[in-house]
Amino acid sequence: MSGFDVKIFFSKLLVFVCLLIVADRCFGLVMEKVLSETNKGDWGRNNYLMDEAVGDVLIMGSSRAIHHYDAGSLSDSLGMKCINAGEDGMGILLMNTRLKHIAERLTPKVVIYEFLPEYDHDSELDNSRYLKFLRTYVDHPDVKECVMDISPNERWKLQSKMYMYNSVFLDIISQRFSRDPTMSKDILWAPLNGEYNGTHEMISIGGNSSADPLKERYLRDLVQICIDNGIRLVFVISPYYGCGTFTVPSSLASLCDEYSIPIFNHFSDPTFVSDPSLFVDPSHLNERGASRFTIMIGEEVKGILRK
């Protein structure tokens, strides 16, 4: 390739890269605006939880938090406003960061954490899936720290605004322009309908799984935030359908011992575990089961608050 050819090749490449940067920035600006105006669906809820939500009791955890706890009924029972910050398929990495972010604005009195080893303790090949709701908030220092902890390469990848909204931009746009009145940002809970008609199986959770050091660190950190801010923390394990055992991971057990944090273990609660009409699948209560469970938890939390 002659010197002339080299110049042409690299100048064309440069023009292409410049155009790409312009397109990327424009996309970022548009999406930033759309996201900030989204007040429905997952993304509206994420904005609401991160920037607006005010309450005394915070319910955190995975799908078992958002589907099992009726924040409205719990508010009535405790006489305090409850917010359900649980998220499908998410765990301690998102919850810790959410709590940190919320704690900058307000200090809740109680945090009810629905603990599930799969998302809050066990090691996984890749924790990137927990970045879904964090990438767009990466400018906030507490969120940035978590993003870098999960994947150090994100520092570079997130220079691209298109990457920042990768795979989620359609959801954000559709939720921004949705006219569905049921897609509230302030979801008290998301009850599941239906009844489980599968078999009564033996389930063993939390026994042999190896711990993810990052999740352990974030769990300890969550406990520390609660201790530092005088927040009453309660860990709950809601019922599973089937006959099985739940072994509290040693890291959680030692944390709870150290700071006298209660664990309400309802994994094998006889009120639930043999009644399939209270479940939609082995790991999720349906609306009826969740309502009953919420009343039970409300009483237990009241007991803690009385002490």
Binding site: F9, A23, V168, L170
Partner: protein, 479 residues
């Protein structure tokens, strides 16, 4: 380091720049190819060692045995030469047999002994098929072809060990091919490589398109395919049919994506590698499909299995037998499992049927062409189930379940996932159809630089916004 990883994104431009800068600018007084080859060899082995260092010894074994036996072959003639050729073939195949087929063969022998003599052998004969060195099937076939070419005097044995090492370990193709021939690649290794703008542009274009096919089409479709086919008993017909249909595109996007990227990286390094794919789903027959899918393997099987068996220059029945055997080998090459064997044999059977009907090379047009393409696609897609599922009974169960529960809709498909998959399918379909049709106005349009630039920009934007960036491994790397 896979082509779809973040590591590749930053490391490759550095290696590429270093390669050309050292060759062209710093060492312009010396023979460029020699220095470039050493550099490429260091890069190739360096990248392979990063995976599992001990497996580089397997690579070295295959390289050394094929190199030495090729040199030995020319020293002898007649019977002795044949003996050395067979010993060489066995030694080259040894790691492949041990790592990939040992357990399968062991369990086969066990069952046979049990069946014939009624003796229960236990425990299982331990094998290492759980720790298959990556690219083993590909570089073993490349070495076998080289030895066979030397034996049949199609090429002279290579005298330069370092060049030969590079031929086997060349990093763009070592993981999943294309399976290059010594006659194609070795002369390129020996020649002076001069940076060529059009080749670089072609390379970037292949790289870009390969990336699109992998991260936008294959990995996106893979999310749905894995959800449905891994738990097929929980899904009804519409979801299973969609999952099966999407698997056909997942494997196309995955393997063609890898191959395009390999060709692209080869171009950027100054090499021309064989293009493994020619719009395979536009084939009018299963026979044509194999002229368009994994071309380097198909031609390998044709030259080193089908033709030595007698090819088509024999009786009709013998020819059919040769086709079946060739595709049986193809199935076995893909994996040590009865599913691959059934998949391969079925492909052979369909080609025999086409040959018997005389339609294997018949080109139709108009509606008949469309019908033939559709029928071929359906056959290929159903056969992919044997390729995808862990056992034959699982594959049959999925096929059976595809007829039950049509009253239900498609499940586990979110709105956005559906849009992303449709978008990827439409883009791939448009590209393949336009390339296939050779329309003049398309070619004229393609010659306009702003049009090309805009299309490249759209593809990059689609990759960034719709791609799946979990650096997932390519399916064929497992072979």
């Amino acid at each position: 380091m896979t082509f779809n990883s973040f590591e590749f994104l930053w490391l490759f431009p550095i290696l590429w720049g270093l390669y050309w800068v050292i060759q062209v600018i710093i060492l312009r007084k010396y023979s460029r190819s020699i220095i470039g080859n050493y550099l490429l060899l260091i890069i190739s082995y360096g990248l392979y060692l990063r995976w599992r260092p001990e497996y580089a010894l397997i690579l070295l074994w295959v390289t050394a045995t094929s190199f030495i036996f090729a040199r030995v072959l020319v020293l002898f003639r007649d019977q002795k030469q044949k003996s050395f050729f067979i010993i060489g073939i066995c030694l080259i195949l040894l790691p492949l047999l041990f790592f990939k087929y040992w357990t399968f063969l062991g369990s086969g022998i066990k069952s046979l002994v049990n069946l014939v003599a009624g003796i229960q052998l236990s425990p299982d004969i331990p094998g290492l098929n759980y720790a298959l060195p990556i690219g083993l099937s590909f570089y073993t076939f490349q070495a076998l072809a080289y030895l066979s070419d030397v034996y049949h005097r199609r090429i002279e044995p290579e005298k330069n060990w370092w060049d030969y090492m590079l031929f086997i370990a060349f990093f763009p193709q070592i993981l999943s091919g294309p399976i290059s021939r010594a006659g194609d690649l070795l002369p390129q290794i020996k020649a002076d490589r001069i940076p060529d703008r059009s080749q670089f542009t072609r390379g970037l274009r292949f790289l870009l398109w390969g990336m699109f096919m992998k991260v936008v089409l294959a990995d996106r479709a893979g999310i749905y395919v894995n959800t449905v086919l891994n738990n097929y008993s929980q899904y009804t017909a519409p979801s299973l049919v969609l999952g099966t249909f999407l698997y056909a595109f997942q494997i196309y996007g995955d393997f063609a994506g890898y191959s395009y990227m390999a060709v692209g990286v080869g171009d950027l390094m100054g090499f021309k590698l064989i293009n493994n794919f020619q719009r395979p789903y536009l084939s009018q027959s299963v026979s044509e499909f194999w002229r368009r899918w994994h071309i380097s393997l198909s031609t390998w099987l044709r030259d080193y299995v089908y033709i030595p068996l007698g090819g088509s220059h024999c009786s009709r029945l013998r020819n059919y037998h040769n086709i079946i055997i060739t595709f049986l080998v193809s199935g076995i090459w893909h994996g040590a499992n009865w599913t691959f064997i059934v998949w391969g044999v079925f492909h052979g059977v369909f080609q025999v049927i086409e040959k018997a009907l005389g339609i294997q090379k018949m080109n139709s047009s108009g509606p008949l062409k469309a019908i033939r393409i559709l029928v071929t696609f359906c056959i290929i897609t159903i056969l992919w189930l044997f390729f995808r599922m862990p056992t034959i009974s699982d594959a049959c169960a999925v096929i059976k379940a595809c007829f039950v529960g049509w009253e239900n809709g498609v499940s586990s498909m979110t709105k956005s996932m559906g849009v992303f998959i449709k978008l990827a399918l439409v883009v791939v379909a448009i590209k393949d159809l336009l390339e296939e049709s050779h329309l003049q106005w398309v070619e004229k349009l393609w010659k306009m630089a702003p049009v090309r630039m805009t299309l490249y920009l759209i593809i990059v934007c689609l990759i960034l916004t719709c791609g799946v960036f979990d650096s997932s491994q390519f399916i064929y790397v497992g072979f």
